[in-house]
Amino acid sequence: MTKIRSVAIYGKGGIGKSTTTSNLSAALADMGKRVIQIGCDPKSDSTNNLRGGRSIPTVLDAIRSGKPVELDDIVYEGFGGVLCIEAGGPEPGVGCAGRGIIAAIELLRQKKVFEEYKPDVVLYDVLGDVVCGGFSVPIREGVAEQVYTVTSADFMAIYAANNLFKGIQKYASSGGALFSGIIANSVTLPVQREIIDDFASRTGTTIAEYVPRSDTITRSELLGQTAIEYDPDSTQAEVYRSLARTLLKNEERYVPKPLEAAELKVWAESWSDRLLTKKNDARSGSGSREIASTST
């Protein structure tokens, strides 16, 4: 068995982790790879777009039922033969979702899911910021060998990415996962790209791919599909294929240098100042070239 490439994808809630991860899975499957996608989010909708928009029973549902868990109960095939698993979680406001993720990952190990299916790539799509020990398991125990984060140029998304870097840094010396790159999402304006580039250079990280905002995604998701399935010839599909190729050959693994809370605030304020200058300049007719050339 060749070595499994296991990758965790983190990012702020609503930033497009599941979209990115399921498109990646679809692109990799399209390239002939055997892929497992594991959604580590209690709302368990990570793999919906690989399954016509439909949810699958979760690992924690299976544990909860009290019956012996078989692989068939938790592994479902989606587009291109991608194997879909959802960790699931408790009802909102009850119990501990983080402990749920731990229990689900332990069950996958016990059930020898990876030995059984022999995947080339395993993708973990992990909820939001690193909120507690359960969600940090893919990093802490090095379950994933590479970590990517999806971020836009919004401050809160960058804040979440920075938090993730703190998580990686914390466990890096004790066998935790290392970082492999930022997936810059919803990048349409040059300034958005600039902001993310600047953040990457400040934190000593790299950009794995720039993903523009696209109608193709909106349309495909309405049908419960990925862009790869919905419109394989689209530009957007090609972006994800490019990201998939990067992911397969990317050997970069390093410890990011997260910004301290105060530093991050100063950094964000410097950008808001520049954006305001740009807006005022645009009003007074001096154009937006200045902002594009400003770099710190």
Binding site: I63, E91, V94, G95, G100, A103
Partner: protein
């Protein structure tokens, strides 16, 4: 900070108002700046506390510990006869309750322990699945089961670290089930993670009692005196309190150990709430006054002759029995003072022989610290240092008073750290050293050493400490412990030292303290 009045200063030091609309009490740290690590002069502690600079620190190494659930509550709540207890916890959290059941069985029925002595003890036995999904349904099931099995008047629900961490909705489950069962449900939020100060468990218990159990007074019972905290003293103390109050036509409402649910319901009807251990009773006392106008006093505890006199006088004041109390004091003094005097003379004789007063190193809770230092003084003993399991600003004024009465002394604040106690015992080398259960007595001395009180439920007359018989019994006990050293001698010869020399060479007993900045 400068305060205009003493009251203003006090209210800044601790929260007096009890808010029963809340699910539980604030913890002792929030309420009264509680700490559990300190060594130094009592005057220094007072100064730090007064100026608001007193700070708790971490222990880099701790030998043993107890949490508000297992050490303080399970022991007491389990003795309430017509109630059942549900530990909403992993099974291990409730195990200590079972051990205490055996200890209490050592109390003879003839001395008042109920003959029917079953423990109505249940646990939801939380496991990983319950942590992940929550265990509200399991709790509800356990409540119905408790109702069916025991038909109790009340069901106490004790929480644990586990339920605290996952944020179990205990109040929700209680609200759902209460309309369908007869027993009164009493959820107590005592999860260990809430507080470093185990006394938070007391407050959580009284909060629940005040909120769920105490009834509006139907009639005032002018002869009823609420007395809380029996078994941190001894069984004989219970009998002594009943004897003294009985002689002047008063009844003691002894809670919580071995009380009935009705006794809790009637707390609001009493004439006064009197302390045995003020630090244990303060939350209940304040709550009863605030909600039902039951007056209270917190000091002194009835330990030693002077304190007992004063304790009785306070009760006399609130029950209109001042004359009876004076007569009682006179009568009791006639009987007991000669015996006290004999003990004191013996201590004085020993002191004269060795050329200085006999010194006792006391190991105490913070309530006992206040009561015991003056008692030592009555016996003609000096105390080079005191030990207290924790300290909070609730006793600040009284500590100031004790220092002004007996002079300054060293004070070690620690919860169950035997090595720290052993360290200062070796350094200060008193003639007699007292240890608490769990506080550590596993070290050897040639000089006297004894326990301050045996494990709860010790019914032997020589274990009495409260009231007049207690003053004499305890005085005698200390005298015997000082004189009879054969046990220490044997221990010294036959056993190895608990700690290496290195430990005793350290200048600071708080060697393992990690300063929190």
């Amino acid at each position: 900070m400068v305060f205009a009045t003493r009251d203003e200063a006090d209210s800044a030091l601790y929260e007096k108002r009890i808010d029963l609309s809340q699910a539980t009490c604030p913890n002792r740290e929030q309420r009264a700046n509680g700490i559990n690590i300190f060594y130094g002069k009592a005057s220094d502690l007072i100064e730090k506390a007064r100026s608001g600079c007193l700070q708790n620190h971490e222990r880099g190494f701790a030998q043993s510990s107890g949490c508000s659930l297992n050490f303080y509550l399970s022991v007491r709540v389990g003795t309430i006869r017509d109630a059942a207890t549900i530990f909403h916890a992993p099974v291990g959290c409730s195990s200590s309750a079972l051990g205490y059941r055996e200890l209490f069985r050592g109390v003879p029925v003839e001395l008042g322990r109920p003959a029917e002595y079953d423990l109505h003890w249940m646990t939801t036995n939380l496991r990983e699945k319950d942590v992940v999904y929550g265990a509200g349904d399991k709790l509800k099931k356990a409540i119905y089961e408790a109702q069916e099995r025991y038909n109790p008047k009340a069901i106490f629900i004790l929480t644990s670290c586990t339920t605290g961490i996952i944020g179990e909705d205990i109040e929700g489950a209680v609200a759902d089930v209460q309309p369908h069962i007869d027993a009164r449900l009493v959820p107590i939020h005592c999860e260990g993670v809430r507080s470093r100060i185990v006394q938070t468990g007391y407050d959580a218990f009284w909060h629940a009692v005040l909120k769920y159990l105490v009834k509006k007074p139907e009639k005032k019972q002018t002869d009823l005196v609420n007395v809380a905290s029996m078994l941190s003293y001894t069984w004989q103390d219970r009998l002594e309190i009943q004897r003294l109050l009985g002689k002047i036509g008063l009844r003691a409402n002894l809670i919580p150990e071995f009380a009935t649910v009705e006794q809790f319901q009637q707390l609001s009807e009493a004439a006064v709430t009197a302390p045995l251990c003020p630090t244990y009773t303060d939350y209940l006392s304040r709550g009863l006054e605030q909600e039902y106008g039951v007056p209270y006093f917190l000091y002194p505890s009835p330990m030693g002759i002077t304190n007992t006199d004063e304790w009785l006088r306070q009760i006399g004041k609130y029950t209109g029995k001042s004359d009876e109390v004076e007569a009682l004091i006179e009568e009791e003094h006639r009987i007991w003072m000669p015996k006290m005097q004999a003990i004191r003379s013996e201590f004085d004789r020993i002191a004269a022989e060795k050329g200085s007063k006999v010194s006792v190193l006391g190991s105490l809770g913070q309530g006992r610290l206040l009561a015991q230092m003056p008692f030592f003084d009555e016996l003609g003993l000096v105390s080079p240092a005191a030990m207290s399991q924790d300290y909070d600003n609730l006793i600040l004024e009284e500590l100031e008073e004790v220092v002004s009465r007996v002079g300054d002394f060293d004070l070690l604040v620690n919860t169950f750290q035997a090595a720290e106690q052993s360290h200062i015992t070796t350094k200060l080398d008193p003639d007699l050293t007292l240890t608490c259960p769990f506080q550590g007595g596993a070290y050897k001395r040639i000089k006297g050493a004894t326990r301050i009180h045996a494990l709860r439920g010790d019914p032997h007359p020589w274990s009495a400490q409260s009231g007049y018989t207690g003053a004499v019994a305890y005085g005698n006990f200390l005298l015997q412990a000082l004189k009879s050293r054969s046990f220490q001698k044997t221990l010294k010869e036959k056993t190895k030292d608990s700690y290496r020399d290195w430990w005793f060479k350290q200048s600071n007993p708080l060697y393992y303290m990690k300063r929190v900045v």
